[in-house]
Symmetry: C2
Subunit: 230 residues, 2 copies
């Protein structure tokens, strides 16, 4: 694993700090607000369908989520929702954006130790403004020599990033919780990856959530295990 | 103006392509939709106040605009708006995101000519996903060796960018239509700037819309005038 390794990329949401549980909590609160119109399960399904419709035009992030919630409320209630509740939904999104950043266990120690031996970069996706705020709140910015926020974690974007930073794929390792976003596209560039599953995963990321069989991929239970192999 | 110049940065919205008129048009349509609740002028004022409230939490861009429209509709109508109209408002935003990109006059010729003599970068702000889509639709990506999309065009972000790209401020020139975003922070880094006013300006950018008196600033009427001085 250590051979030629120079640069380590870390995913942010649910790799360095807790994220998806906050969204799941907001979704539950949203379902409760609409419980007189439909059961939670049906509301969640409608929300996911609307998210998938909006994703190609809106892109990921909290504002995409908020707009999708509003549309879902209108659809599930067949436009019978009281307008005041639309305000409550936007307030729900505002609360989500204002959440404190909760680091996952062991994260700071891992970054501190690896920082002296490798160049570390943060590779995150979604809403630029929201990601920058979370990074600032996290207090972790000082460990990274470069921050890359992509609109989408695709092979082409990883390749562009490596080229821009003059990193050979054989010198790069990516650490993340999503097979779809952090692992598969990185392996395709020829670089290495460490998959650290997280207990809560957005259904979209789940679509490809089985670890591929690849000698350049390592699966770990928790982030501090990295220190045993690097 | 030419001395030591190596890199030219171009703002995107309303410098390379038309943007603000599309927002103004959407706002007018929005005001018409709510005309039974309040006069257009009052609606626009409420929208601007809500935008200013949302900006620090949401950041710029089309989704920020859409969410602000929904909140404005609820406020102006005192929650009396028919829910169906909220759908129409989101549709208005969707139409805005789907607009074709209309290049301003002379832009492509300027980029083509300067591209052979200088390194060109695109320096834009706002919604990462939307800006990337507009750039792709514009067909201009091939002229730029680097694309920088900032959450906010502040001095610190310009300085970070110059440092990252190993550009000395004395080698850099920024071209843009907003005094607040493209000119003042760039002059403060010690670099040069060209201001090309655009006929439609968002009220927020207007706040500081008088050209400062600075020997490193040039004001031009249209982008093709750049070819006369470089």
């Amino acid at each position: 694993m250590k051979d030629h390794l120079k640069v380590i990329g870390f995913d942010a949401d649910d790799t360095l700090w807790l994220n998806e549980p906050n969204y799941k909590e907001a979704e539950q609160e949203f379902c409760s607000m609409l419980s007189n119109f439909a059961p939670a399960e049906k509301i969640s399904k409608t929300l996911y369908d609307i998210e998938m419709k909006n994703l190609p035009l809106f892109g990921y992030g909290a504002k995409f989520f908020m707009l999708s919630l509003v549309e879902t409320a209108l659809k599930v209630s067949r436009n019978k929702i009281e307008p005041q509740k639309i305000n409550d939904i936007i307030e729900l999104g505002r609360k989500l954006l204002n959440k404190p950043v909760e680091l996952l266990e062991g994260v700071e120690e891992v970054l501190k130790q690896l920082n002296s031996r490798y160049k570390l970069i943060l590779v995150s996706k979604g809403d630029l403004f929201d990601q920058e705020r979370k990074l600032e709140k996290s207090g972790l910015a000082k460990y990274f020599y470069h921050i890359e926020i992509m609109s989408n974690k695709e092979v082409a974007n990883y390749s562009k990033m490596l080229q821009k930073l003059d990193i050979n794929p054989s010198e790069f390792l990516m650490v993340g919780n999503s097979i779809r976003s952090d692992i598969l596209p990185v392996l395709e560039t020829g670089a290495r990856a460490i998959h650290i599953p997280y207990h809560t995963v957005w259904q979209y990321e789940m679509l490809e959530n089985t670890s591929p069989d690849n000698p350049r991929l390592t699966k770990l239970d928790k982030i501090s295990d990295i220190l045993n192999i690097l």
